[in-house]
């Protein structure tokens, strides 16, 4: 499996009177994430399955990935909590994306690569970042191929534009 672990894009900060799951993306977060998705597209990335947390910022982030999705999108509460067997048992497909939240995504990456979630503390996953893993979706059985920050993804998009404009 190729697994793309994606942290949601920039969202409005926590504030009084608004529950955490309700926080939407900021306009800048939406715009930048769309650009990042174009960067993924320039890399030739396509998913046959997309899983995302039910929280609004993850739903919005997943929504923008629909252009890269060839199969089904599935909402799951296993991406709105610490990673566990329930999440791994749910994942199926050859090229899969999961959209969720920190610190759980770092814990997931650490669990899948090093076999333990505690190593997640040494992983920094910015908002709108994409970690690309490969292997079997079981603890310790995956390798981290790349960790792409939003800046890198947007740069890939610009590079793709320059190529297509020079022919």
């Amino acid at each position: 499996m190729e697994l793309f672990v994606i942290r949601h894009a920039e969202a409005v900060p926590r504030e009084e009177g608004r529950d955490d799951p309700e926080r939407p993306l900021t306009p800048r977060g939406r715009k930048r994430w769309r650009q990042s998705v174009e960067g993924l597209d320039a890399l030739g990335v396509g998913f046959d399955r997309l899983y995302h947390s039910p929280w609004l910022r993850a739903v919005e982030t997943a929504d923008a990935l629909s252009t890269l999705l060839e199969g089904e999108s599935v909402v799951t509460q296993t991406l709105a909590t610490a990673p566990g067997a329930a999440l791994l048992n749910e994942l199926s497909g050859k090229c899969v994306a999961v959209v969720g939240h920190e610190p759980w995504l770092s814990e997931l990456i650490a669990w899948l690569t090093a076999g333990e979630t505690s190593a997640g503390k040494s992983i920094s996953l910015k908002k709108g970042s994409v970690a690309w893993l490969e292997g079997q979706a079981r603890p310790g059985k995956m390798k981290l191929k790349a960790l792409m920050t939003p800046k890198v993804l947007r740069a890939l998009r610009r590079r793709s534009w320059r190529r297509s404009s020079t022919g």
Partner: protein, 237 residues
């Protein structure tokens, strides 16, 4: 058809009302005694699906479709029963496989996640709803012209039925009158259900009912053509 709730035709459209209908239908569908519960569940999900389309949401559409199709087998059985065709009223509670599929879906983590996600979605802006409603009206006009040329083609009528239903939901979302559109949907529904039952189970006794429904649908379509054309070009609401 009475409009459901005080909704402005020009404001943003929230999902609240359709979500309320979904939550009301769930326990009735779970009990499995009243087939109307399954029907209301599917109607609520169809409305939510349409709302997602109005708002140009791609996420969550597959989840709604999955839940609707889980209830589809149960609904088909009830429709056959209401027509008195096929297996002679093999109701939901008498079909263990359809019931199990539906119950499994209703209690699954995927449904729980969907019910958590839907209330968090913001209202769809009014101008987006208007633009999307015009698209729907244009589609109904195009499919209606096809149905005029082929008034007994069940495929053409089915496509028109689906488009009319979606337009009806969009009008209801906006608080616009939808009685005539609903009547057309009902006639098309009767015609299509009869055609399907005849194709699957014989039931030649349904032919008269089907013809009557097709004639009613055609008449209703002709009455709606002009208002729909106006709606399609943005002059009707």
């Amino acid at each position: 058809m009475a409009m459901a709730g005080p909704v402005t035709s020009n404001g943003p459209v929230a999902l609240t009302r359709w979500l309320g209908q979904l939550k009301a239908a769930l326990p009735i569908a779970r009990l499995g005694v009243d087939p109307e519960g399954v029907h209301q569940l599917r109607v609520a999900l169809a409305r939510i699906r349409l709302w997602l389309w109005l708002g140009r949401w791609h996420a969550l559409r597959d989840d709604v479709d999955w839940l609707r199709s889980a209830a589809a087998a149960a609904r088909d059985i009830d429709v056959r029963a209401s027509l008195g065709a096929g297996d002679g009223g093999h109701a939901l509670r008498g079909n263990p496989a359809a019931r199990r599929q539906l119950l499994a879906a209703l209690s699954s983590p995927r449904t729980a996640a969907l019910l958590e996600a839907l209330p968090l979605l913001p209202p769809v802006p009014a101008d987006t709803v208007r633009e999307r409603t015009r698209e729907l009206a244009r589609r109904v006009c195009a499919l209606g012209r096809t149905a005029e040329r082929r008034p007994h083609d069940s495929g053409a009528l089915h496509q028109l039925r689906c488009a009319v239903r979606r337009l009806r939901y969009a009008l209801e979302c906006r608080g616009l009158p939808a009685a005539e559109v609903t009547a057309l949907q009902d006639s098309l529904g009767e015609a299509c259900d009869c055609a399907l039952a005849m194709a699957r189970h014989g039931a030649p006794e349904l032919a008269l009912r089907r013809n009557k429904a097709e004639r009613a649908a055609l008449k209703q379509w002709y009455a709606l053509k002009a208002p729909l054309r106006r709606l399609a070009v943005g002059r009707g609401g």
